[in-house]
């Protein structure tokens, strides 16, 4: 991995700081011009209105400047549309370790995600219930475990 790619891949999500933008699949590509050192980074938002995008762009530019690439451009694309299926296995493990249930796989034959049983990220129990279909950020819903009574966030399948 190039130094530029490594620097960008290490940028953390400003709203879920345990995972990087690479873990989440927000980072699509890092292209470096070997002659000039100029870097073009392509990212995609999780949700169209995600308010973290401005911070992510600034963090990418800062990380690249620190890695010796002050000449950087951050492009935002919307196609193909982000899916929670792009969250890496490492990302899912980090989310679970932080008490955030990772998303279920998305059903591919329709646009409405299928809701499967969500396991409690604290005690592992499948006895959970959804408290709210919307949560503290655009990408999360609020759940509660009926076994250990702890509330927890879940990344909504999209």
């Amino acid at each position: 991995m190039s130094r530029a790619r490594a620097a960008v891949a290490a940028v953390v999500d400003p709203e879920i700081r345990v995972v990087t933008i690479d873990d989440l699949g927000i980072l699509r590509s890092v292209l470096e011009d070997p002659a000039t050192g100029r870097v073009v980074v392509t990212i995609t938002p999780t949700y169209t209105g995600c308010p973290a995008m401005d911070v992510i762009r600034a963090d990418i530019r800062r990380a690249l400047a620190a890695a010796g690439h002050p000449d950087a451009e951050v492009r935002t694309v919307h196609s193909p549309a982000w899916s929670t299926d792009w969250i890496s296995d490492a990302g899912r493990a980090k989310l679970a370790a932080a008490g955030i249930a990772p998303p279920a796989p998305v059903r591919r034959d329709g646009v409405v995600p299928l809701t499967l049983t969500v396991r409690c990220p604290h005690c592992g129990s499948p006895e959970t219930e959804q408290l709210s279909r919307f949560g503290s950020t655009a990408c999360k819903a609020l759940w509660r475990c009926r076994s250990c009574s702890e509330p927890f966030d879940q990344v909504k399948a999209l």
Binding site: P45, Y47, T48, G49, C50, P51, V77, H78, S79, P80, A81, W82, V111, V112, L131, S132, R133, F134, G135, S136, A138, L142, K156, L158
Partner: protein
């Protein structure tokens, strides 16, 4: 430009209305839900208005289009500018809006215009979630108590005439909304049936939003939305 502007204005005005519920929703979870849906609408509005500005080629960006146009220059449908009413009216509005936006964005995702196709592919997933949410509430309220049934039916009755405008024929648009009507009818009719609600008879079908002829409600909404930008032109956070 007109089509992107119309869709962008739908999403922008819907976002502004939904945001009015913040701190006023009947329960905390619903407060969060309506704010989230408003944020999704705002996200789509930003993409659509930015694109509309580029197509126009007169140097107007998303902020200029949102904050520096008067009511007659807005192209949103009347549905989204109507006052929120009670929670049942808001859910009736959201059901109609989402049941229109889902097939609209889905069709847009397959249109030849790459920018609109990308926006459609992205926004349809969010709209599908909004539709789910509105349908759950309409069923819960319609098939609930006598009072919740009465208010949900009243909400549907009040909103229903405004659905017609969404599907007015627009043959040279990337997606002709008239082609979406049957899917919309199927979706909404099924939800209302499960909710034990009656599809209203439509006696009049107000329209004019796409031509800039709005209800008086839009001016007040814009006054609140635009006041800061107009009082302090170019102000930034």
């Amino acid at each position: 430009m007109d089509f992107a502007l119309a869709l962008g204005d739908d999403a922008l005005i819907a976002a502004q209305r939904l945001a009015e519920w913040t701190t006023r929703a009947p329960e905390m979870e619903e407060d969060v839900a309506l704010a989230n849906i408003a944020l999704d609408q705002l996200g789509a509005a930003r993409l659509l208005l930015s694109y509309a500005g580029e197509l126009e080629g007169a140097g107007r960006d998303e902020d200029t289009l949102a904050y520096l146009r008067d009511d007659r220059e807005f192209r949103n449908c009347l549905l989204v500018e109507l006052p929120n009413g009670d929670f049942a009216v808001t859910m009736a509005k959201l059901l109609v809006l989402a049941a229109y936006q889902v097939p609209l964005y889905t069709a847009l995702a397959a249109c030849p215009d790459e920018r609109l196709a990308a926006i459609g592919a992205k926004a349809r997933k969010e709209s599908a979630y909004h539709l789910d949410h509105a349908a759950l509430w309409v069923k819960r309220l319609g098939d609930g108590t006598e009072e919740s049934y009465r208010r949900m039916q009243a909400g549907i009755d009040q909103i229903w005439p405004y659905a017609d405008e969404l599907f007015a024929a627009w043959p040279d648009a990337p997606v002709d909304p008239a082609t979406l009507r049957s899917e919309f009818d199927d979706t909404v009719t099924a939800v209302l049936a499960e909710a034990t609600l009656t599809v209203p008879e439509v006696a009049w079908t107000p329209a004019g939003g796409r031509d800039g002829v709005h209800t008086e409600h839009l001016s007040y909404l814009l006054a609140e939305m635009q006041v800061l930008h107009r009082a302090h032109p170019g102000v930034r956070w």
